[in-house]
């Protein structure tokens, strides 16, 4: 009945495979073009300009200075490289502080909220819904809301709780005030991801543990936490990367000039856009890019995060 000869089959099969591969390439082309246009080419240009002294308004009039944007001292002893600028190192320090503290607090609070919402009680649906509210609010809006709450003559926190302290006026207190904003805004995101992880855990395992007389505390440390590890780690990576890129909160709450002391991104943007220093700004951007990539590699290798 079958007329296909054994020798013809592999050839035909290969033909189908090849044509499907060609189709796949066609389907990918729009996305690949878009990625090259908005990510690949601009990244290449940023790397390119980081080696030049150039102005943003006339990028064609540039002079090659090698790594001078990173480190350069003139004959008169004036330090021009951004790595010699204490303000840059202040921004790095503040960004790292911001990232470590806010991601830590978000994870702890997110875990507490997720555990509460995961247990059965009247009002659970309400809390689950309330959880989505801070997450749904645009970052700029939550920054303005909190700037108002921190205001020393009107604010619920600034005037009410602290009795007229201008938290945002002082760099040492403002970084903590901003950490509080970020924690409020994104704890929900952590809680949602942890909750999704919790709901995938088998309930019969907990019944068995109850029978064996394990306390809730033991169950949490010995069962819940280890099983949640993969979900928790990926959430941690994404939150950390977001926090390292922080810009909106700081720019809105204290303005771009003060923000440049608190956030690496704001420092780079100030050099690049406000001061029009295309070369220097690009060099700073590349430094941030390298810092973030190093942290990604550390995360992925240290915790063996799998993305598939």
């Amino acid at each position: 009945m079958t007329t296909i000869t054994p020798t013809a089959k592999p050839g035909k099969q290969r033909g189908i495979e090849a044509s499907r591969a060609r189709t796949a390439v066609w389907l990918l082309i729009p996305t690949l073009i878009a990625i090259v246009l908005v990510a690949g080419y601009p990244l290449y240009r940023t790397i390119f300009f980081s080696l030049f002294e150039a102005n943003l308004t006339s990028p064609d009039q540039r002079s090659y200075i090698g790594l001078g944007n990173f480190w350069f001292t003139t004959d008169e002893g004036v330090a021009l490289g951004f790595l010699q600028d204490p303000k840059w190192w202040g921004a790095v320090q503040n960004t790292l502080l911001f990232t470590i503290v806010s991601v830590f607090l978000e994870t702890v609070f997110g875990m507490i909220i997720a555990l509460v919402v995961n247990s059965a009680f009247p009002g659970r649906a309400f809390l689950r819904t309330a959880m989505l509210v801070p997450w749904a609010i645009p970052t700029v809006v939550s920054a303005q809301m909190w700037a108002y709450m921190y205001n020393d003559s009107f604010g619920l926190v600034g005037r009410g709780a602290l009795g007229g302290v201008a938290l945002l006026a002082n760099p040492t207190t403002s970084i903590w005030a901003m950490i509080a904003v970020d924690v409020w805004k994104t704890t929900s995101f952590m809680a949602l991801l942890i909750l999704a992880g919790l709901q995938s855990l088998p309930s019969d395992m907990y019944e068995a543990a109850d029978m064996d007389g394990a306390s809730k505390w033991t169950q949490f440390w010995r069962m819940t936490l280890p099983l949640l590890r993969p979900a928790l780690l990926v959430a941690l990576v994404f939150r950390s990367l977001d926090a390292l890129r922080v810009f909106d909160i700081m720019s809105v709450m204290v303005g771009n000039v003060s923000a440049a002391r608190l956030s690496m991104t704001a420092y780079a943007r100030q050099a690049l856009i406000d001061n029009q220093l295309l070369g220097l700004g690009s060099a700073v951007s590349i430094a941030i890019f390298i810092i973030i990539m190093v942290i990604v590699v550390i995360y992925v290798t240290a915790f063996r995060v799998k993305f598939d």
């Binding site: 990918l28 990510a39 943003l56 989505l132 645009p138 929900s188 994404f238 780079a268």
Partner: protein
């Protein structure tokens, strides 16, 4: 359960503690937002009142009237809508093509493409800011919503590709095979067979990408001067004089921008959780 019989005092104490925690969490999550809503309904002169008097003060729609009378705000809403819808439309179209290829087809360099897409989604936006600025200037798209749409593709496309790919993988292959046997081309299969099945995924992904585009600040601040989107308008909202911060109006503008998002998020609650976990937990 056992505790209720063996030690009722401890049981009820535990329950009390639990409900206290629930109340604290609810207040923590909601009070800042509710306070902003309240402020948006108060006159400028009442802002100085003590909290209890402030709550009891008469309400007014005045701030909302002022906000909508502000041409910058109205235009901001329009530009935000244009850029967010534009960026999401392109991202969904391109993203679903790519997701179909990545989820259903076998070819060389497939995992390389997936990793590139993932790498772009963890890109710090600042790393491309200078390059994009010169590109947008060269294309003469500065202060043009089209320039913003283009720049927003850097985060909407990787996100849609990644999330949709994981949805495409979960669709049973028989559907597509049946279409292929009937002689449908890959594009026909995608549009006629997979799109209807993927509708919930497209809505969820589109909504999440829309929220991200609606909220974007860095590019909007940098690539526009007068045709600003709503986050930039709100961040720079100023009153009659330079030193007067019109908090009532700022809060009213904030509520106008936020309430539609909150409604969308509440309506699509379940989808959003699955979209977020597909996008974030799986990668």
């Amino acid at each position: 359960m056992y505790l209720k019989r063996t030690n009722p005092t401890l049981y009820y104490l535990q329950r009390l503690g639990f409900y206290l925690l629930v109340v604290v969490i609810a207040l923590y999550l909601l009070v800042p937002f509710l306070w902003a809503v309240l402020t948006s309904f108060r006159r400028a002169g009442d802002l100085f009142l003590q909290p209890l008097q402030f709550m009891a003060a008469p309400s007014t729609w005045g701030n909302y009237a002022d906000v909508f009378a502000n041409p910058n705000f109205r235009l901001g809403l329009l530009y935000s809508l244009i850029t967010a819808v534009g960026a999401v439309f392109i991202a969904l179209l391109f993203g679903s093509f790519a997701a179909y290829a990545l989820g259903r087809f076998k070819f060389k360099f497939k995992s390389a493409v997936l990793y590139i897409v993932l790498a772009v989604s963890v890109f710090p936006q600042i790393a491309v800011l200078g390059g994009l600025y010169t590109l947008i200037n060269t294309l003469q798209l500065y202060n043009n919503p089209a320039g913003l749409i283009l720049s927003y593709l850097i985060f909407t496309i990787p996100f849609t590709v990644w999330v949709l790919t994981s949805f495409v993988r979960d669709i049973p292959g028989e559907l597509e095979e049946a279409a292929l046997v009937d002689g449908a081309s890959p594009l026909q299969t995608l549009f006629r067979v997979l799109f209807p099945v993927m509708m919930p995924a497209l809505v969820t992904t589109g909504l999440l990408a829309f929220i991200n585009a609606w909220n974007e600040y860095l590019f909007a601040l940098t690539f526009t001067s007068t045709k600003r989107t709503v986050p930039v308008v709100i961040a720079n909202y100023s009153g009659a004089t330079q030193f007067d911060q019109p908090w009532g109006q700022i809060m009213a503008a904030s509520i106008v921008v936020t309430v539609p998002l909150i409604i969308l998020v509440l309506v699509f609650q379940r989808n959003i959780v699955s979209g977020l976990t597909a996008g974030a937990v799986k990668g």
